[in-house]
Structure formats: C-alpha cells, structure tokens
C-alpha cells in the first residue's frame, strides 16, 4: 500500500521540467506575452498585421511542435506531476490548435464587417458620444482580442494536460477570464454583448467556485491533489466516501458547465447570441474541446475506479443534455441560439463517449470534437456574412430564400447542417457512428437509442433552416431586432473565405475518407498521470 507517496519532504526541490514536452504551451504563452507588449508598443497601423501574424505563427509553431513531438512519442509527466504529456495530450492539442487557427482567422477578418467584428473602444460607455464616433468612423479594430485569445488558447492547452487539481483549476481560470472579456467586445449590439459577458462571468465565477470546493473536498478525501493519487486512494477504499462523492459531484459540475452540458447549459444560448460571432465560434469549438478533453482525462485517470458511483448520474446528465438541447432548440428563432442549443445536444452525445471509459470512447470523443468543431466554426463564419443594416441578421427569417440570393452560401450551410444532423458522407455522421459504437460496446445501448431520438429531434430544427433557405420566398425580416431592414449577403473577405472553405472541405473529407484521421486520433492507453 503506497497510499502516502506524497509524504512531506524536508527540503523543497525544484521540479524537473521537460521543456520539449510542454513547448507548445510555452510557445503560446510566450506569444501571448509578446502580444501584450505589441499592443502597448506598436503603432496603431502596425498592430493589426503584427497581431494577426504573431497569433498565426504562434499557433502554427505550437502545432508543428505538437506534431513532431507527438510523432516521436515524446511522452512525459513533468512539473512535479502537474502536467502529463502523453499521446492523448498531443491529440487533444492538435485538435485544439487546428480549431484555434481557424477561429483566429475568422476573428481577423475585417471585410464582411468593415473594421472587424470587435468594438473599437470597449471601455466607452454604450450610446455615449465617444462610443458613437468610434462606431461611425470604424477605426481599425481593437486588436486586444488577439492577446486575449492567445491566453485563452494556452489555458485550453493546459486544461486537458493537467494532472493535478490545482493545475486544472488554474488552467480553467486562464482560459475563462479572457473569454469573459472577449464576449463583451462586439462592435454591433453592444448591450446584448456586454450582457452576455456579465452573465458568462457571473455564472462562470460560480462554476469555478463550485469546482474549487469540489477540489477541496477531494483533497480532504485523498490527501493529495494528483489524479493518480485520488484514483489509488479510492481504489483502496476505507475512507469517507461522502467526501469523495460530493467532491466529485462538485468538480464535475464545474466541468460540465464549461462544456455547456445540460442541465448546466443555461449560460450557453445567451452568451452564444451576445458574443461577437467569431468569439462564439471560438467558444463553441475550442472551449468544448478543452472541457471534454479535460473530462476525458479526469474520468479516465481519477474517477475510473469509482465509475460504479457516478455512471448512473452521468447517464441521466447525458440524457438531460441531449433532450434539453434538442427540444428547446426547436422553439428558437435566432440562428445563433439554435446553434447554441444544438451544441447542448451535441455535448450530450459527446458525454456518451466520455463515460464509455474505453480507448474507443476516448478516440471517438476526440474525433467527434474535431468534426463538430469545424462544422460549427464554418456555420458561424457563414452567419457573419448574412447582414442587414444593423450588422448581422441572425434571425431565422433572414435566411428565407437564401438559396436564391446566394446559392453557394446556402449550399455550404446545408452541408454543415446535414453534418450536425449526422447524414452519411458528412463528418458528423462518422463522428456519431464512432461515438455510438463505442458507447454500445460499453453497454450503453439504451443511451444510444435516446441519442438517436434526440438526433431526430435536432434534425427538425436543422431542416427548418434548410426549408427556409430553399423552399421559402425571401421576405423582409420581421419580428427580429431589425424590422424593415433588408437582408444582404456580404462578400466574404479572404480570411472568412479561407475559414469557410477549410471547414467545408474538412466536413466533406472526414465524411468520405475518415480512416486516416481516425487512425491518427486513436489514443492508446494507458494515459499517463
């Protein structure tokens, strides 16, 4: 019985650091810091190209490092066991960076919304003279979104690699705080954007507190913050299980909140709706990857031995999430909210993969995150193009007759929607196939049937958009915020064009020939810790 490996030590020894393994995180953190300096030091004109270039190079560099180190199987548990870099970590990082790159490109676009999607002076009071002049003159967009994004990505990278509770919590904060700010940066409809930021911040703060309380209780139970120790202690048994169960519950609630899994999803629709669309795309793809990747590790490493105690609850959560997302999604009239509820339903599907607790479950969850992320970013990118006088026109009626106005846009949107619905030959189908297969193999066939029902319901609201685009006559927007405004489709700038093309290509390619990518994302156990 080596229960107390973390026995008190006399002297503090500096932990060894495997720089090769954690270099991708360091690259991004370094870039984030440089980015702050650029923001302060560079001239107004130079900022935008510098920031975009720096972000892209940092993400590409980190990605390249991840690929090389991953292909060499350079695995390590480093920083005194705070971070584990194993095959799963590399896969998670790879997915995260791929999605982050596309999201950053979307943020950088300044063509479809002249001056960019972000407010020129976020600090200016809404409606004040200063605010109006800033909006009217459409000065170069505020580039502080780039350092914020880089910090958020760094946090997201650490989150699934964290191997003890404190690192997990810090990573969570590092990824969350920039996101709270970024939600409030919308150039148009600033009130709703700031409301989203405040809501997200308040609820997020509560979730963090709950998570932290859970961590405290788990420490009380196991006497250690490391995942592996918690697993070992709970396997040995003989301690106060109440602490374990409550601690686990609180911790998991915090994580489910971040993954916008119902019934902890209540922030999702408001925040998705209010945040600038590129930020929404970033949150919907990357935050989800980070949250679910972290859940994968925690469930697999820390809570696997006690799966008997929480599996039933997670079944219920998965069912709730799938049905909440599917059913409430039907009643939405704003496309951003529709996609938000769809993300809640998809979170439920993802949860099936997480609680499969198998190699296949982990691999299929990661594959699903990749496919879902690209389709989501693509859908939000298209959303930025449909505009009325007052900015984007996310109300569903704005999409009526889109197939006549812009057949290409309607066609690509249909592709993404079909992928969400899981129609064969799109990536979403392969994702569902792999995840449901893994779940069935783990004895969750009833959950798979519920998932099928939920998928059918979600198909209804995806199809409603298709019906609007193809079968309805274009009508002026009514009932939305922009009464009597005509809806126009903006020409995408180069960045948005690239984003849409990449997302569509990935969605098709992973639907037709997914084998190579599935192999690449296949995670072999054991996970290090």
């Amino acid at each position: 019985m080596s229960l107390l490996t973390a026995a008190p030590v006399e002297t503090i020894v500096a932990p060894s650091v495997d720089f090769v393994a954690i270099m991708p995180v360091l690259i991004l953190l370094g870039a984030a810091v440089i980015s702050v300096v650029v923001e302060a030091a560079a001239g107004r004109k130079a900022r935008y190209p510098l920031q975009v270039g720096l972000s892209a190079v940092a993400i590409l560099g980190a990605g390249a490092w991840t690929v090389v180190a991953g292909s060499k199987s350079h695995f390590a548990v480093t920083l005194a066991g705070a971070i584990s870099v194993d095959q799963a970590t590399y896969v998670m990082w790879g997915i995260l960076l791929a999605l982050a790159l596309v999201s950053v490109l979307l943020m950088a676009d300044r063509v479809s919304e002249p001056g960019g999607a972000f407010v020129a002076q976020a600090a200016a009071r809404i409606g004040s003279a200063r605010d109006r002049t800033a909006a009217l003159t459409a000065t170069p967009m505020q580039t502080e979104v780039f350092p914020l994004t880089l910090f958020a990505i760094s946090g997201m990278m650490v989150f699934p690699a964290a191997s003890d509770m404190i690192t997990l919590f810090i990573a969570l904060e590092v990824l969350s705080l920039p996101l709270y700010l970024m939600c409030g940066l919308a150039r148009r409809r600033r009130l709703i954007s700031q409301e989203a930021a405040v809501k997200y911040f308040l609820l997020g703060a509560f979730a963090s507190a709950i998570l932290l309380y859970g961590i405290a209780l788990l420490y009380g139970y196991a006497g250690s913050l490391r995942f592996a120790d918690i697993a070992a202690v709970s396997q040995a048994g003989g301690r106060n299980d109440l602490l374990l169960l409550i601690g686990m519950a609180l911790l998991v609630v915090g994580l489910l909140f971040k993954g916008s899994v119902g019934p902890f999803h209540s922030w999702t629709p408001d925040v998705y709706q209010g945040a600038p669309t590129p930020v929404t795309a970033f949150m919907a793809s990357c935050t989800k990857v980070a949250a679910f990747a972290a859940m994968l590790r925690i469930f697999m490493v820390a809570f696997e031995p006690t799966s008997w105690s929480w599996r039933g609850v997670m079944w219920a959560v998965a069912i709730a999430s799938m049905l909440i997302g599917a059913i409430i999604g039907i009643t939405q009239t704003d496309l951003k909210r529709v996609l938000a509820y769809s993300s809640v339903a998809h979170a439920g599907f993802l949860l099936l993969g997480v609680i499969s607790l198998s190699e296949k479950g982990v691999s299929s969850t990661l594959f699903y995150l990749l496919t879902y992320g690209f389709a989501t970013i693509g859908a939000f990118a298209l959303l930025t193009l449909v505009r009325s006088g007052e900015g984007e026109a996310p109300h569903l009626s704005a999409w009526a007759g889109m197939a006549k106005k812009s057949p290409v846009l309607a066609g690509i949107m249909t592709l993404f929607l079909l992928s969400f619905a899981g129609i064969p030959l799109t990536s979403g189908f392969i994702g569902k196939l792999t995840i449901f297969t893994a779940a069935t193999e783990s004895g969750m066939a009833p959950l798979v049937v519920v998932a099928m029902v939920a998928t059918a319901i979600t198909a209804f609201f995806y199809l409603r958009v298709v019906v609007l685009m193809y079968f309805a006559a274009p009508v002026p927007v009514t009932g939305g915020v922009d009464d009597s405004e005509t809806v126009a489709v903006a020409l995408p700038g180069a960045f948005t064009m690239i984003v849409i093309a990449v997302c569509a290509a990935v969605t098709l390619l992973l639907g037709l020939l997914p084998s190579a990518v599935i192999d690449l994302l296949t995670v072999h156990f054991p996970l290090l810790s």
Partner: protein, 563 residues
Amino acid sequence: MNGFPYLLLLLVIPLVGAVVVGSMKGAPVRTVKLVALGISLLVLVLAAALWIAHTPSDGGLQHTMSVTWIAALGLKFSLGVDGISLVMIALIALLVPIVIGASWEEKLPEGRSVAGYLGLLLSLEAAMIAVFAASDVFVFYVAFELMLIPMYFLIGAYGGPRRAYAAMKFFLYSFVGGLLMLASLIGLYVTSKDHLPGGTGSLDWETLKSIAHQIPESTQMWIFAGFAIAFAIKAPLVPFHTWLPDAGAEAPIGTGTLLVGVLDKVGTFGFLRICIPLLPAASSKLAWLIILLSVIGIFYGGLLAAGQTDLKRFVTYTSIAHFGFIALGVFAFTTQAMTGAVFYMVAHGLATGLLFLVVGMLTQRGGSRLISDYGGVWKVAPLLGGMFLIAALATVALPGTSSFIAEFLVLLGTFAALPGWGVAATVGIVIAAIYMLWIFQRTMTGPVRGVGVLGSDSDGESFLPSVPLPTTSGWSAGSVDHDGHGDTVTRTMTIAAEARKRFPDLNGREIAVLTPLVVLIVFLGIYPRPVLDVIDPTVRSTISQFQGQATDDVTVGQTGGGK
C-alpha cells in the same frame, strides 16, 4: 472484383450525370432534358447488359466488388447483386427514363430550373441503385439515408402547394427510421465482434449471414426492432404510413412515381435483405406482427383509398394496400409467397407507375387534384381514359396483367402456410376492385363535367345535371340522377367537343412514355418466366438459409445450454 464493373458504373454514370445536368443551368432547356434522358437511357442499357450477364441459376451475390472504405472501423464499400436486387435495379433503370419523358413539359414552380430538377432525379437514381446493389449493411445504410436528400429537395422545391410540409414530414419519418436502423446497425456490428474470429466487427453481408445463427435470440430481437421500424416506415406499413399520402400528393409527378414505384420497395427489400437472412430467429419470432400489420394495411389502405377526394392521395393509399400484400408474401416464409412478393415489387412498380403517370397527365390537364373535378374524361380524351383503365385494371390485378401473377403467388404461398391470413388478405382484393372501379366510374365515365375538364370559367354546374347519359356508358347509369332533357346527344357532343379544346388527349410523347409500361405489364402478365427465373433461385436460397438457421438455432441453443 471480377469481370466488368457493371454495378460501379451503374452508380457512377447517374452520379456524374447528375453533376453534369445540375450544372447546366444556363443551357437551353431542351438540351438539358436530352442530356438527362440520354444518361438515363445509358443506365438502362447498362442495366440490361447486367441482366444478360447475370447467371439466373445462381441465387447468391454476383458481380461483387469490394474496396476498403474506412479501414479504422473495418468497413468496406461492397457491391453485389442477387436475383432480387437485379430485378429492382432493372425496374429503376426502366422507370427513370420514362419519368424523365413524362416530366418533359411539366410546369415547375416559379424560379426553379429544369437542370436542378433533372440533376436531383439522376442523383436519386444513383442512390436508389446503391441501396439495392449494396452488399455491406453499412453501404446499404448510407445509401438509404442519402436517398432522402434528393427526394427531400425534389418534393420540397418542385412539389405542390404544401410541399415544404410534405418534404419535412417525409424526411423526418424516414430519418427517424434511419436512426433507429443506425442504432441496430451499431448493435449488429458490436455483436458481430463476439462471433467473428479476431474480435473485429464487420458489416459485410455475407460475413454476417454466416454468423447469423450464432447471435442469441434476445439480441436479435432488439436489433430486429430497429431495422423493422425503419423498413416499416419506408414500406410503409400501417401505423407508420402517414407520410406517404402527403409526400406522394405533393411530389411532382415524376418524383411521385419513383417514390411509390421504387423508393418504398426499399422497405420490403430491407426485410428480405437484412431482417430475414441476418436475424432469422427474430424474424420468425416476430413474423406474426409484420403479417398482422400487413393485413391491416391491406384493409386500411383499401378503405381509405375508397374515401379519398384527391387523386394522388388515392394512388398512394392503394399502394399502402399493395405493400401489405408484399410484406405478407415476404413473411409467409414459403417460396411461392416470397417469389410472389418480389415479383409484386416489380409488378407494382409498373402498374402503380403507370397509374401515377396517367393521374399526373390528368391533373396536369385539369389543374386540379380533386376527384370531383373530373367526369366523363373518356369522352373528351379517349386515349387517356383507356390508359387509365389499363392502369386501374393492372392495379387491381386483373388476370393477364403482371400484378395478377404476383398477387396470386403471394396468396397461394400464404394459404399453404397461414390459411387464416390468406383468407383475410383475399378479401382485400375485393376492396381493391371496389375502390378502383369506383374511381374509374367517377372520373372517366358519365357526363362530361367538372372544373378540371370544362374549366372554371364555364358555367358547368348549372347545366350539367341536365346532360343525359350517353348510351355507350350505360353501366354507370345509376351514378347520376336525371330528370331527362329530351333532345340530346348533340348537346353532349358539343360539350365534349368544347372540352376537347382545353383538355387535349394524349400526345405522341405521352403515348411513347406510357407504352413500354403497358407492354411490360401485359407481357409479364402472360409470360412471367424471364423475371421469375431470376427471382426464384435467390428466394430459394434465402428460404433454405433461413430454415437451415432456424434449425441450427435449436441445436446451438441446446449446446449452449449444456455449457
């Protein structure tokens, strides 16, 4: 892969054709139509060549090909045809050019292009052929779902007034079925791991067939449930049928013909292809349920058909009744009944295809789908009336038409195994005669009347009752109540002549489109051997494999119990 890749070409040609035709938006309409027709005829030639290359005596899969598709999951892209799928592919290849010919002058909704319509039609053809040519359950599923998309757009973009509603309903019904099927498919895949060497799952049809008897019955039941609901929705059997009248009624004529003529057969084909060979224990356990639904469908479809006011809905309800016969034949588990069922799938495609096209020509002229808007059409357009009569008689399975052979075989085979159900189903024939003759009488015979025939501007109602019956159609004398107007055969003649001006008879193109169907219906009604010879060996091997496995089950169960 062995020999000439017929099946691959049968998929690729319509698919490439769909892309080519779909991108010809700027080209002259006539060119687009000719190209589409040419491609569909090419497919027909290829299907004919496939038929000739087929060895009828072999009941197994022929012209097989298999390529690794998703290696990570052990899934393959495999094609192959046996007798049953061959006749269905031939039916598709035959119907598509006919449908294109029939839609030649169809008025599309405003702003819709012919290129888009024909492109979707060709992609639908490719998907339908893929369903029947699939020899891997996964490929079958993918094609099954993909079939939805062109059909969804065909109904939703080119259909009647309630097209968006009908398209959505069609899609959701089929999609729900498809998802349950996906759950079952995953279940089958996972289960196959336990029974295959090496523990790798497979969805290859031949492989699954070889282990079908090892899967425990309780597992089979669950897997069967998912597949059966999917197929029951597609077929459609009665509690799952409500999408068909809407979809069929709102679909443009050509699409509706393919929907009722071919697409719905995927359901019964699925029972034959997947449920019975791969899940034999569950199939024999639950056969009673399918048979019950079938017989209910025969009556329910027939009675509702009689009560319809809309011509196209009427055709779809008659089809629901006929699908009852097909499913009954499949689940009676006798060679005769099953052969009859497969033959019925072809015969119904021909007969209902003809009926749907004739109804389409009628409604296109009259501008209304209501039965009450037509009367005495025969006098105005005798060729159209004649075709309607042939289609009606073929649908009620008059001896001498192909449907008769099919229905007779089904009933004969059912009597042998399940006499009670056989008797019940026979009563359905009487209902069929009633609804069919009644509708014929209402629309074709009697005085020339109705807005559909006379036009809405003519003051039809006021003088119609006074028009006396022509002596030629005395057998409908009881239908209209008259107080006689004295003179007037001449009066009738003038009305008919007036009506003829706005209600022309069939033109050369329409006759050319309908003739092949009529010829085939009569030919196969008199000499069904060519088709039966192809179907029979496959049905025999299906039945013998099913029975062999049923007995195997017992032995496996016993040895299993001993462990």
